[in-house]
Symmetry: C2
Subunit: 236 residues, 2 copies
């Protein structure tokens, strides 16, 4: 039986892959590349492409974004079946994931499904977007006894004010959908100047917006945009 | 003028260093190894030692754990002065840090001090202990719209109950000091079985305590022990 590996490739450039992730990409026979649409670009694959030799079987798997539960189930079952078949043949399979495989990833569900079925699974951590974003901006995430909250932009965040009371640093991943709501709260609290945004971190087009007070409330950003809220101004 | 680099070496094994971290260790002339006591063991140095060629200048710097503010200031000023001197000579300097350089590290203060003085600084993210701990335990940190809180064991956590209401996953780093307090709260809430501890992750002696209900309230763990609290049982 083969082993199922999850490899966190980091947020956007090959230098943030770990040595272990690199090594496992050399060992495995099959590389799974998850995509949202057939034939669509995979950033995770692009990051590690230089490290994948031509003798590997590279398999694109479709994980559609859909509210149609039946369609979703069909796609996921077919994907899990395909991975199981490779593992049953004794082939080792690496599943690529942007950032870290256990922080908001499709991989984590597949991992749970396959390991519950008895397949061996190993997860190789990866650098998340918020780590790389803070490094790029030159602003430490947490120091001393501070508290860090990590939230997703798919969350409606009705308790954001409460969370901001309790935490020193609050990260919101893929913030686009709720940016206006968050912006308004930060404006009231006077935390726009101490917070910042980083879009497409690690990529050629990466950008730091180091002072939110110069942005419009309805500003739009690329999909991979991370908001990092600091309440104090000591991080600038 | 040389460049000041912070390199996150990950939690405990060389495989979790990034390719970029590896590359910068080849480039720099000086490697700073922070220690708490003169001559004491540095795990961060041990992790990357195989990658550091003998022509590098390796400098151990003492960052004492002390409540004596005068003694602390003296030590820190001497260390900053020493790094500045190397940078002034045009030498590139790498400062090693366990985990990630911008998540609870000594490095982040030195970085702020030196970059405010005008020295160029670049931070290379590293895998944190909680990422590696969840990978080792095979339990995803956050999925879907879940919320993740990262706390330090130096925090008294008087608001822990409130935080647990708002968050799905709560990580407490270096939990030893407040373990008994946290344990009692988790017992009341019946979350002992769904939470787990990982000590010395990445090291030979790494250990997963996958069910807290079998532990005693006054149990003691190694210094580098991470508690990961899940409220549901779906992660087991």
């Amino acid at each position: 039986m083969g082993c199922f590996y999850g490899i966190g490739v980091g947020p956007g450039k090959s230098g943030l892959l770990t040595l272990e992730g690199y090594q496992i990409l050399q060992q495995v026979q099959v590389v799974i590349v998850p995509v949202k649409k057939v034939g669509s670009h995979s950033l995770a694959f692009e990051i590690v492409k230089p490290f994948i030799s031509t003798d590997k079987t590279v398999v694109e798997q479709l994980y559609p974004m859909s509210y149609d539960q039946w369609r979703l189930n069909q796609a996921w079952q077919a994907n899990q079946q395909e991975i199981s078949s490779y593992l049953d043949e004794g082939l080792d399979v690496a599943f690529l994931t942007l950032g870290d495989p256990f922080v908001y990833s499709t991989y984590s569900y597949i991992y749970q499904f396959l390991t519950k079925k008895g397949y061996p699974g190993t997860t190789i951590s990866g650098i998340t977007s918020f780590q790389a974003a803070s490094a790029l901006a030159g602003r430490p995430l947490v120091q001393g006894e501070e508290r860090l909250a990590i939230l997703s932009g798919t969350d409606n965040l009705d308790e954001l004010e409460q969370i901001l009371e309790l935490f020193d640093t609050v990260v919101i991943l893929k913030v686009n959908r709720i940016f206006a709501k968050v912006y308004q709260l930060l404006a009231v609290k006077d935390w726009l100047k101490s917070s910042y945004l980083v879009s497409s971190v690690g990529m050629l087009e990466e950008q730091v917006y180091s002072d939110l007070s110069v942005l419009a409330v309805d500003e739009k950003f690329p999909y991979l945009t991370t908001l990092i809220i600091h309440k104090g101004s000591d991080r600038r």
